[in-house]
Symmetry: D2
Subunit: 337 residues, 4 copies
C-alpha cells in the first residue's frame, strides 16, 4: 500500500501517518519526491483495507498495491483448478456445455428439452426452479416441484443438473437435487447466500453481476473459497453499458483477464449476454476462441411459449448447429468438446 | 404494447401474430405503414411482459407502452405518500434527516454519535448491525448485539432507528428493534428479501442498486407494495459509471424523475454517492434543492478509526454545519427542516 | 413513429396531434387502448426526427419505429459491401489484417516494422502521422514527414497504407499518401471531418467512438455514404464501461449486431479494446470467431521505447503467432486469411 | 510515479528498471515489501506518461501519483480564476446565466427569444449557428447568417454571445462575432480545434464529453491554457450512463470535484443533462446549490416548432420562474444572481 501525502504536508503530518502505520504493526518507508511525499506500507496490506487511512491528517490518496483477494488468485495457486463431477471434467481441455430452459415449466417441457440438449452434446442441464424476477407479477418458478423434475431429468438422461438458489435458507434443499448450485448475477453480492453456498461444499456456478468489476467477482468467489469450497466456476454473462442494441454487453476481455488473475474455470452465458437468440451463435464461438472453459446456453423447444427469456432461447436445431460450430472453433484453439 | 413486423412480412405472419394476441385475450389493431406494419395490442399489457412475442414469425420488435409497475405509479395514486412514525413525518414539507455511523462498532461509539446527530437536528439514527461487505475478511457487523445497542440509543435519544437487513430470515428479528428496515443497494433485487420485508408490514427504506434503472427500482418497490405495505421510502445513493474521481455518481436527475413517476418519498444518501466526506456537503444541498424529501448521512466521531466507510463520514462539527446549510436551501425551495 | 398520449388526454389534444401530423404531410392512425391512446404516423418518419412532437399538448412519449440511418442499412442494400484496393479485398471471405505501430516515429522504426508485419501476413500497414493525444504534452506525430515515410514503406513492401486524419483541412493532404483514411474514435462525431472524408471519395476506416452506440456509429457512416462514398469500413475498438481491468471493453456483440443491421464490412481493433498486449491474442481470435472481416493490430519492434501505446503493442514474434492462431480460427468459421 | 514489480521478479529485472529510470533522468527509490518490490520514481513524472514503462521486464503495473494536468490545477494556481467580459463577471460571487435557443433558426425567432431571456435576467445569449448533428439529414445550422443574427441580437439587447465552433478553420470567423467560443461535448477531444481556440485568445466555454472523465476534461482545458489562453469556462452537461429515463445523467458530484481540482469556473447545462424541459428546473437549482458558477439553459418561444432540442427547451414563462427559483437558492448558498 502506498500513501500519497498532500503537496506541502508538514513533517508532523508525515510523522503522524508513520506512527499510525507502525502502531498497526507495519513498517513505513518514506520517499520524498519533488511535489509529494509518498509512504510505502510494508507488510500484508489486505487487513488494512478496512482502515480509513485517507482520513489521517495530510493524506491525499491511498493506493493499494495487491489484489484484495487471495485464495482466488494465481499468486496463491498457479495451476488451473480442474475438477470432475460424475465423469464431467470442468476446467480441463474439454469444454463443458450446459444447456436447457430458463425456467422449469412442466415435466413434459423439461424432459423434451433435456433429451434434445443431451443429443446435441451438452453434459449439464440448466433450468430454474426458483426464479429471481424483476416484476412481482412474473412467473416465480415451480419451486420444489421444479427440483424434482430436474432430478427426474437427470435420471432419464444422465445429464448433471445446475440450478439457481436465491436464498440462503434454500441452499440445503437445492443441494439435495442439484449437482451444481448457481448463484445468479443479481445475487453476486448476496453475501449471506455466498457464505451458505460456501459452507455447503457443493460446486458453485457464480455469475458476474451485471455491473460488477472482475475484482468484485473474485472477491465474491473468495467468500466461497474461504469456506474451503474450491469447486467454483466463474461465469461471464454480460455487463450493463450504455449500448441498448443488446440486453447486455458481453465483456469478452474478461476471459483472458480472469485467466491471468485466477486459477478458477471460466464459462460464458451467451444468452443473457446478448438477449437475442440470433446473436448467441456468434458470441458462443467468440467465447471459446477467447479461451472460455465452457458455455451455458438457453434452449427451449417452444421459445415462443416460454414463461421467461423466450427471445434469447435457441430451438434444438439451432443449438445443434451451434455445438457443431463451436466444436470446430474449440479444435482451432486446441480444446475439445 | 406495439408489435413491429419485419419489412415485407407476409400476410400470414401478420395474421399469425393477430391470432396469438386474440388467443391471449387481447384485441389487435393493425396499422400498415410504408415500410413496416405495426400491430397495437389493446388491453392491460403488463401480464404480457412474460410472453416472448418477439419469437413469433415475422416480428421485428416489441415496444411496451405502459410502465411495468402499477401500485408505485402516480397513475395509480396521484397524491404523494406521506406517513408518520412516532412524530417524524416522511414525505411531507419537512425534510427527514437520518444520520449515524456506517456500522455499529461499540456502545460508546454509538451513543456518542447518536447524541451528536440528535443535537445537530437529525430525527433518525442510522447504523448497521448486519453489514454486507465486499470482502469476507472485512468486519461483518455486531449482529444482534448491534441491534440491542441501537435500541438503547433510541431510548436514550428519542431518535428513530433505521438499520439494514440482509437476509429474509432476519426480517422478523431486525423488525423487533428497528423503526425502519433498510434494504441496501446490493440487495435491491434480492426478491426473497423484498417479499419478506413487504409481508412484515414495517416501513422500508429501499436503496437503489448501483446498477439499477429507476424503472427497476420502482419494480422492486412494487414487490413491497404488492404485500399491502405502502410505507416505502426510496433512496438514490449513486450509480456506477465510468467516472473514477468519486466512488459513485449521484444521479440527481433521479429526483425529479421519481417525483414524476411515483408517489413514494425519495431521499438521498450523499455519503455513498460521493465516497468522500469533503463532497458530501455540496451534494446534500443539491439533493434538497432538487426536491429530495430527506437525507441519510454517515457521521462518525472518529472517522479515522471507523471500521468501515471512514473516508466518507463527517465529523459532528461538519455535520452540524451541513444541517445549517441544508436548512437554508430547504427554505429557499419552500421546505422546512 | 408512434405517439403515446398521456393517460386521460382529452379529445382536443388528440385531435391537435393528428392535425399537426397531417399538416406535416403524414397520415395519422388512432388506436384507443384501455389506459392510453396511441397515434401511429404513416409515412417516412426519418425527416420527423427533427420535430419535437413530445412538446405537443397531451403527448407522453414518441417512439421511433424505423432505424434513423438509411444508406447504411440492410433494408437499403441486402448484400454485403465488398470492395478491392490494389488486390486487397475488404468484406469478402478473406480477412484483412492491418498492422503497424501506433505512431510513425522514424524511418528506421517504420520500415523495420513494415517488413515484419508484411512477413507475418498483414496486407495493410497502419501508423499515425497526425496523432490525437489526450495531453498537449504528448508526442503529436511527425505530420507530413510521417506521411512521406508511410509512402516509402508502401513502395518497399507493397502494403496498403491506412493512417488517421484528424482535421477536415488535412483530408486532401492525407488522401495523397494513404490508401485508406482512418477516422478515429474521438472524431467519430466530428461531422465536418466526416463530410470532408465523404466528399474525398477515399476509402474510410471509421472507428466507433468509445461513448457511441451502434446506431450512432451507423449515423456517422451515413454522413460518408450520403456523399456517395460507399467504401466505408466500420471498426469496433472497445467502449468505455465501469470495468477498469482493461483500457476499454471490447463489445463483441457489436459484430453480429452490425452484420445484421448493415452491409458494411466490420473489423476489430483488439489493441485499443484491451490496452494490454497480453490480451490481444485472445480477443483477436474471438473477433474473427464472431464474424469480423479483419483486424487492425498495433505492432512495434521495440514497444518498451514506443512513443505511444507501447503497452498494447505486440512484438513481431508474438504478432506472427497471432496471425497463425487467427488463421486456424478463421478456417474454423469458413473464412481464409 | 510508482512502479510495482511482479511477485518474485529477480534482481536483474529490478536493476533493469532502475537503470532505465536513471537513463531518463530520474532517481529511483526502492522499497521491498513482503510480496512485491515497488520502485518510486523521483522527479516530475508528467513527461514520463509517454514512456511505456509497463513493457520493461518484470513490471506488473505503473501507478501515476500526480494529476497529468498542470496549468489547470489548483496546485498551480490556488485562487479561483475570475474574469470580466463587457461587465459580465465569470467565476465570481454572481452567477452567470446563459440562455437562448439550441439553434439560430431565423431573425424573428432569435430576437424574440433574446428579448425574453434578457428580461428574465440572463446576461449571455446562447444559440448555435454551426450545429453538430448526429444525422446528416438534420438541420445543420444557418452558418454565417446565424452569426450575423447573433451579432444583431447583441446590439439590440446588450447580451453577450456564446456560440459553438465545430471546425478549427471556423475559429477566426466565429471569433469575429462571438464573445465566448463554445466547444461542444462531441468535440471535447478534437485537439486541432482546442489548439486553434487556445491560440485565438477568445474566452472558451468547454463542455465535458458525454463519456469523458473529469481528468480528461481538465486535460482538454490544458490544451487551451497551454496557449496562454486562461479564460476557460468548464461546463458539466451530463454523462452517458445505463439509465434511459433521461437523455444524460447530470454528474452533480463533478461540481465539488472540479472546484477542488481546478481554479477554472464551472457552469452546468441542465437542458442537455436531462433532455426534458420538465426536469430542468429541479436540476438547475441543484447545480447552483452544489456550487456551480452559472447555468446555460435552452429557451424557445415555440419549442413545439424548434428545429432541434425542442423537448428540452423552456418557454419564457417557465424560464422566468426558474431564474426566480434559482435566485433564492443562490442566496441560500451565499451567491447572487
Amino acid at each position: 500500500m502506498i500513501i500519497v501525502m498532500r503537496q506541502g504536508a508538514p513533517d508532523e503530518e508525515i510523522q503522524g501517518v508513520v506512527a499510525t502505520i507502525e502502531e498497526l504493526g507495519y513498517r513505513a518507508h518514506l520517499s520524498k519526491g519533488e511535489e509529494r511525499t509518498i509512504i510505502g506500507v510494508i507488510g500484508d496490506e489486505r487487513p488494512l483495507a478496512v482502515q480509513p487511512l485517507e482520513m489521517l491528517a495530510g493524506v491525499e490518496r491511498v493506493v493499494p498495491i495487491l489484489q484484495p483477494f487471495k485464495l482466488a488468485s494465481r499468486d496463491f495457486r498457479p495451476q488451473n483448478t480442474v475438477f470432475s463431477l460424475n465423469g464431467v471434467t470442468v476446467g480441463g481441455d474439454q469444454l463443458v456445455i450446459m444447456a436447457g430452459p430458463c425456467a422449469v415449466e412442466s415435466r413434459e417441457q423439461l424432459l423434451e428439452i433435456a433429451a434434445a440438449v443431451k443429443e446435441a452434446g451438452a453434459t449439464v442441464l440448466r433450468g430454474g426452479a426458483f426464479k429471481p424476477r424483476t416484476s412481482p407479477y412474473s412467473f416465480q418458478g415451480l419451486g420444489v416441484r421444479g427440483l424434482e423434475l430436474l432430478a427426474e431429468a437427470r435420471e432419464k438422461t444422465g445429464l448433471l443438473i445446475v440450478t439457481e438458489v436465491i436464498s440462503p435458507t434454500d441452499v440445503a434443499l437445492v443441494g439435495e437435487y442439484a449437482d451444481i448450485l448457481q448463484i445468479g448475477a443479481r445475487n453476486m453480492q448476496n453475501f449471506s447466500l455466498l457464505q451458505e453456498a460456501g459452507r455447503s461444499g457443493h460446486p458453485v456456478l457464480l455469475k458476474r453481476g451485471m455491473m460488477s468489476t472482475l475484482q468484485e467477482l473474485l472477491m465474491s468467489a473468495e467468500y466461497i473459497l474461504a469456506n474451503s469450497n474450491y469447486r467454483v466456476i466463474l461465469c461471464e454473462r454480460g455487463i450493463r453499458t450504455f449500448e441498448t442494441a443488446t440486453r447486455n454487453t458481453l465483456d469478452i476481455n474478461a476471459i483472458p483477464v480472469l485467466k491471468k488473475l485466477t486459477h478458477l474455470p471460466v464459462i460464458v452465458d451467451p444468452s443473457h449476454a446478448t438477449g437475442k437468440w440470433e446473436y448467441v451463435g456468434a458470441v458462443s464461438k467468440a467465447a471459446v476462441a477467447a479461451g472460455a472453459d465452457g458455455l451455458i446456453v438457453e434452449v427451449h423447444t417452444h421459445p415462443e411459449k416460454a414463461f421467461s427469456d423466450g427471445a434469447q432461447s435457441l430451438k434444438p436445431g439451432v443449438f445443434n448447429q451451434l455445438v457443431a460450430d463451436v466444436r470446430r472453433v474449440a479444435e482451432a484453439v486446441g480444446r475439445t468438446l
